[in-house]
């Protein structure tokens, strides 16, 4: 008990000190701000330069913003995926980011005055290269593979990577997508709600290939020194997934928000992305990537739908998938 009083007093002083520091409220997906995501590192280095307090709010990012509407306390939203950004843009809740986008190093042209990319990756099937020595090198290959090749994928209705997968197939096959899904169906062991269930099943040996990202092997290489996981690179190209940050129009910390968006493009921020978010940085030349990332095989062709196209095709692509796999 002797120590309790000074402790409480110290706490009060600390709270008082924080009250005078401006707070930048950043809404982020749960994985982003968790102890094992990029959030804490980003918070630390931004706070070191802004003289402010960065606070994350996690959870369902877009639904929460839409529910709060103009009352939102958010100054910045980070982690919005381009396949669902149309809804975000149409809400009118966001303001132009005002950043110079020439520094971006994305594999495709990007020009968006509201949503600023901070990382990217591509959908890809990951396999164990000690078990599969000649991986499929195209969707054609995958379709032609024997039916005992066991795939596990995510549901496009509940998972963003699952949605990217059906858009990927839609992009390559258009009207034939349903046909392709029918051919793939016997190999698809199951469909999971989210990415983590699928990936857990794959690492448990329950599936031979899992729908994930081109960057997934980097985690195993860098964090576990495990070289057995590879991404199968397809000739047709891979669907591009980008995550963005944006400034809320109703922010009461406009300058800080601008400062944060500039920070997103800074080398300091970008250097943190690969080994904490396990994805490619959006504005960093390849020579500066960690070695494990530089050596990753990359697709030659990048496929992508703009948010308008994605929004228009989404229902068609999901329905083709659902019909083909429901039999």
């Amino acid at each position: 008990m002797k120590t309790a009083l000074p402790f409480v007093a110290g706490l009060m002083i600390a709270t008082h000190a924080i009250a005078e520091t401006p707070v930048l409220t950043v809404y982020a997906p749960d994985y982003f701000a968790s102890e094992w995501g990029p959030g804490p590192g980003i918070e630390q280095s931004f706070e070191a330069q802004c003289g402010c307090d960065l606070e994350y709010r996690t959870g369902e990012l877009l639904p929460r913003l839409l529910l709060e509407g103009k009352n939102t306390e958010a100054d910045i939203a980070i982690g919005l995926n381009s396949d669902v950004s149309k809804k975000a843009r149409e809400s009118g809740l966001f303001a132009p980011h005002g950043q110079d986008q020439s520094a971006l190093t994305l594999p495709l042209d990007w020009n968006d005055d509201t949503f600023l990319p901070f990382n990217y990756g591509h959908t890809a099937f990951i396999y164990d290269n000690t078990k599969i020595t000649t991986p499929p090198s195209s969707f054609e290959d995958l379709i032609a593979a024997p039916d005992d090749l066991r795939l596990v994928i995510q549901d496009p209705r509940s998972s963003i990577s699952g949605l990217a997968l059906v858009l990927w197939v839609q992009n390559i096959y258009g009207d034939q997508a349903e046909q392709v899904w029918r051919q793939l169906a016997p190999k698809i062991v199951t469909v999971t709600k989210g990415w983590s269930e699928s990936y857990g099943m794959f690492t448990d040996g329950e599936a031979d290939m899992v729908l994930s990202y081109t960057t997934s092997p980097a985690y195993h290489i860098i964090a576990e020194e495990d070289l057995t996981k590879s991404a199968a690179i397809f000739d047709e190209g891979h669907y591009f997934m980008v995550e963005t940050a944006a400034k809320l129009a109703g922010t009461d910390q406009s300058d800080l928000a601008d400062q944060f968006l500039a920070f997103v493009l800074s080398e300091k921020f970008q250097m943190m992305i690969p080994t904490s978010n396990w994805s490619f940085p959006s504005a960093l030349e390849e020579a500066k990537w960690p070695e494990g990332f530089q050596n990753l095989p990359l697709p030659e062709t990048v496929l992508f739908y703009s948010e308008d196209e994605a929004a228009a095709l989404r229902d068609t692509a999901i329905e083709a998938w659902r019909r083909a796999l429901s039999n």
Binding site: Y31, T58, G59, L67, T190, V191, K193, E206, E319
Partner: protein, 502 residues
């Protein structure tokens, strides 16, 4: 139990806490939405898989519960405690545990293949049912076992001295009283299934209404649709609840003297063998996946980071708060109206309930500030129906058997509770408290909208670890969660069984 006006108002409050948020979401979303053909097929699948899962769970649970009720063996108490486990596992952990046993690369297939037996393919409708039975069979066993243990010794003695078959005069009527309620609760749980049904069902043919709600909320932000589907779910749950109450008959056998039960029946060799078989099969089915989870997480246990331990402490304190609130509330809900009102709590989609509460609270208070109280409240709502199912039959018997006497002696209020009910309800109270505590440890919470990311619970940390590729650590954290939940469950359950020989 509680005075009539208190009973009525508590029921109304419980119903209101569920209905008002759902109505708010519906209103905010611009009214009811039309259901698409895909929604209808999801609804159809939801209903039949839940019916089948519930039927199978209570059917298999009955012989297991009977065997447990009349056999004494080493490890019986441990086994009964373990019965609480599957139910409280985070979905993702349970799925991986089940797959370690029944999956393509699982124990069963590794045993089958060398014997030249056909490969077991778990994915499909049978997988959904199997998973739901895994989750709910133990719960059913416990609820039915409770019914057996509540039969007074005098009735067995009477049946024996009259040479009447125990099954027909005692057990069948008891089951008739207990089974409909157990069936209804399990049916409702299976209706709300989502990730388990999808994963084990092998794809979109195993789509449940809950998935459609999630999609409407997360991708379409179509709150009208989400609320419409949530109301459909509520109606299903309520119909099951009403049907169960209608089927639940009162007994009325006369009073016993509350003595320890001694059985004269079931001493024949074939009965003994059958009981042993049931216990063995049930144990293998339930415990093997748990062992798989334990062995996968064991090595990582010592390396668990501080964040996981902090989350564990947070989850433990929330579990205790939830237990106190639930048991307190249950006391004024031990009547038919209360049971129906409480069923709303598990019938409702957590996502829609959370959204409604968010819409209601957001103008008044910072959501993050009330994240923990809201979680406790919602956890209590979810646990109430189980608690009532467990307490109601025993409370009804106690009231029926001793209520008049208590009234004649003018025992009222606390004295009545202490002298009449507490000794008779000790065992079910302990079980109910244990289940609530364990349930709220395992519950991921419907507070995704409220959380500020600072107060993560243990199940949430498991998901976060999984999402950051930290699968080994996630498994260790899941094992910690399992051990803590079981520990809580065991403590409460043990407390309930003290001084009552079992």
């Amino acid at each position: 139990m509680a005075p009539r006006p208190v009973e009525l108002s508590t029921s109304l409050i419980v119903a209101g806490v569920v209905m008002i948020p759902v109505a708010t979401v519906l209103w905010y979303g611009g009214g009811p939405a039309r259901l698409t053909p895909a929604d209808w097929s999801a609804l159809w699948f939801t209903i039949w898989q839940a019916l089948l899962s519930a039927a199978l769970s209570v059917t298999l649970a009955t012989p297991i519960a009977r065997a447990l009720s009349r056999r004494a063996f080493l490890g019986r108490a441990t086994l009964i405690t373990l019965m609480g486990a599957p139910f409280i596992l985070p979905v993702i952990v349970a799925i991986l545990g089940l797959l370690a046993v029944f999956g393509g690369n699982g124990i069963v297939n590794r045993l089958f293949t060398p014997l030249g037996l056909p490969r077991l393919d778990i994915y499909g409708y049978h997988g959904v049912i199997l998973a739901h039975v895994f989750f709910n069979l133990p719960l059913a066993v416990r609820m039915i076992l409770q019914g057996w243990l509540a039969l007074p010794a005098e009735r067995f003695r009477l049946a024996a001295s009259l040479g009447k078959p125990v099954w027909r005069v005692l057990e069948a009527p008891m089951l008739w009283r207990v089974l409909p309620g157990a069936f209804a609760v399990i049916f409702i749980i299976c209706i709300g299934s989502f990730a388990v049904a999808l994963t084990l069902g092998g794809g979109p043919k195993a789509t449940t209404v809950e998935l459609a709600i999630y999609q409407a909320f997360r991708f379409d932000f179509d709150l009208g649709k989400a609320a419409t589907l949530a109301i459909v779910q509520l109606c299903l749950g309520l119909s099951a609840g009403f049907a169960a109450l209608k089927l639940t008959h009162q007994t009325g056998f006369g009073t016993g003297l509350d003595r320890q039960v001694q059985r004269w029946d079931g001493q024949a060799t074939h009965a003994k063998i059958l009981d042993v078989l049931w216990i063995l099969v049930g144990t293998l089915f339930l415990v093997t996946p748990l062992l798989a989870i334990a062995s996968a997480g064991f090595t990582g246990l010592v390396y668990l980071p501080a964040e996981v331990w902090l989350a564990a402490i947070r989850s433990l304190s929330m579990a205790l708060a939830t237990t106190l609130l639930t048991i307190g509330l249950s006391w004024s809900l031990l009547h038919r109206g209360g049971e129906v009102a409480s069923l709303l709590g598990i019938s409702v989609s957590g996502l829609v309930l959370g959204t409604g509460m968010f819409l209601l609270f957001q103008p008044i208070v910072r959501p993050a500030a009330i994240a923990l109280p809201v979680t406790v409240m919602i956890n209590a709502l979810m646990a109430l129906p189980f608690v009532l199912r467990i307490l109601a039959p025993a409370a009804r018997d106690a009231r029926q058997d001793f209520g008049h006497l208590a009234d004649m002696l003018s025992l009222s209020g606390f004295a009545q509770f202490r002298i009449v009910y507490l000794p008779r309800l000790r065992r079910p109270l302990g079980f109910a408290a244990g289940l609530t505590a364990a349930l709220s440890m395992g519950d991921l919470g419907v507070i995704a909208l409220f959380s500020d990311g600072q107060n993560a619970t243990l199940p949430l940390q498991v998901y976060r670890l999984m999402n950051s590729y930290q699968i080994e650590t996630a498994r260790a954290a899941a094992l910690l969660l399992l051990m803590l939940s079981l520990g809580l469950f065991w403590l409460c359950d043990k407390g309930g069984r003290m001084r009552v020989a079992s």
